[in-house]
């Protein structure tokens, strides 16, 4: 019993510490399409971002974007541009902005905003008031995209 209670306590501590320096979706500051300040105090982990990029339940970025770095993954989409060398085209702040809310970079784009504090018509109950990715997942994906360089 004792160690279970302790684990729960640690979890609460951990999450509140992490929560404290997370920028909420409504508080994100854009500079044109870019977001210079990271959303969390914890640096993104590229390897985690790569998983989020592939996962159908999380980023599902691969549904729309081809990415030669992960050739072994099946079924690369072609709705958006190939992300080969994307870090040569956009800096970190711009990449973060595109993931948080691509509509600020591309008006009317089909690409979903992954960290937007707004519900769209008929959003299903289980997704109401939620962002597609968490702040940390966004940072992870940014870290991953920064590795996609051709030059």
């Amino acid at each position: 019993m004792k160690h279970i209670a302790w684990a729960a306590f640690a979890l609460i501590l951990g999450s509140s510490a992490a929560m404290a320096d997370v920028v909420k979706p409504g508080d994100v500051t854009f500079d044109e399409g870019a977001v210079p300040a990271p959303l969390t105090g914890q640096a993104g982990v590229a390897e985690e971002g790569r998983k989020t990029f592939i996962s159908r339940k999380l980023g599902n970025c691969l549904a729309c974007h081809e990415n030669s770095e992960m050739k072994l993954e099946q079924f690369h989409g072609e709705v958006g541009p190939s992300l080969d060398g994307v870090a040569d085209r956009w800096n970190e702040a711009e990449l973060r902005g595109i993931i948080i809310n691509s509509k600020n970079t591309y008006e009317g784009t089909i690409m979903p905003g992954f960290y937007v504090g707004e519900d769209f018509p008929r959003t299903a109950k289980q997704f109401k008031g939620k962002t597609i990715l968490t702040a940390q997942q966004v940072e992870d994906v940014v870290a991953y995209l920064k590795t996609l360089k051709e030059q």
Binding site: R56, N60, L62, A63, C64, Q74, F75, H76, G77, E78, V79, I110, P112, G113, D119, F120, P121, R122, T123, A124, K125, F127, K130, I132
Partner: protein, 267 residues
């Protein structure tokens, strides 16, 4: 349109010929759609050659198992009136042409094929209404629809159909759900593109009900709408709701000019 970027993709010039009859799978967009699309394509065009082939021959097309069942049901008396469809409709072929003009407005209401069939069941036969997407209902919808195969889709969108059509159009272009996407984002702006493993079509319904290899049954139009809306993480309208009737009329009108393909085969 540049088909063929994927190995299993069909030949862009492949023709849909069934029982010697050539169906129209690509044609000029109807006037109301021309601000957004020049040409309209049947979903058949976007399927792999293996899936396409299943629709070329009624003996290969798995939907015909269900049609055979509906042929029997058509002759079977049911309900308090102890009547069969065939007691009032001597030959199912008399329904030729009907599918091409459904949904339609009748007595001020937008009526789909499912509505008409259930109306006959409850009011004429004293039988219980069938569930909208039930196998019995969709088999009968398919049997009636088959009588119009090869005829051009031609739903009415003006007159008293206008307000329903407008409502359907509004739904079609509204971005829904957590993913914030409209039907047009996928089926108008991105048809012929792959989205993950799926080759996007124009989302036409001239082939419905469709037999899908994925679930091995006949799929209603409304079930398909429901699936697409759910995929964008939105709350779908109810199957058989007025919203989906209106959307069905609007989406049908986007296919005006394409041949009725009922029953199409899809993956």
């Amino acid at each position: 349109l540049a088909l063929g970027s994927h190995t299993a993709q069909a030949d862009e010039d492949a023709k849909l010929v069934i029982e010697g009859q050539e169906l129209v799978t690509k044609t000029e967009a109807p006037a109301h759609l021309q601000e957004n699309l020049d040409e309209i394509y049947s979903g058949w065009v976007f399927r792999s050659s293996e899936t396409q082939a299943l629709q070329l021959d009624d003996f290969e097309n798995p939907a015909f198992v269900f049609i055979d069942q509906a042929v029997d049901v058509f002759e079977t008396a049911e309900g308090t009136a102890e009547k069969a469809c065939s007691d009032c409709h001597a030959d199912v072929e008399d329904f030729k042409g009907l599918r091409a003009s459904m949904p339609r407005v009748k007595d001020g209401k937008l009526q789909t094929m499912e509505d008409q069939i259930n109306q006959c069941r409850t009011e004429q036969m004293g039988a219980k209404a069938w569930g909208w997407s039930s196998t019995q209902m969709q088999s009968m919808v398919t049997l009636v629809g088959l009588q119009s195969r090869g005829m051009p889709m031609n739903v009415t969108i003006d007159g008293d159909a206008k307000p329903f059509w407008e409502q359907g159009k509004e739904i079609y272009y509204t971005r829904h759900g957590q993913l914030n996407m409209s039907c047009s984002n996928c089926h108008e702006d991105n048809y012929d593109n792959n989205i993950r493993a799926d080759h996007l079509s124009q989302g036409q319904i001239n082939g419905f009900p469709t037999y899908r290899l994925k679930n091995a049954k006949l799929n209603s139009v409304h079930d398909r709408f429901k699936g697409c809306i759910r995929d964008v993480r939105a709350e779908p309208y109810k199957v058989g709701s007025d919203a989906f009737r209106a959307l069905e009329l609007y989406v049908s009108s986007r296919a005006n000019g394409l041949s009725i393909e009922t029953p199409a085969v899809r993956n």
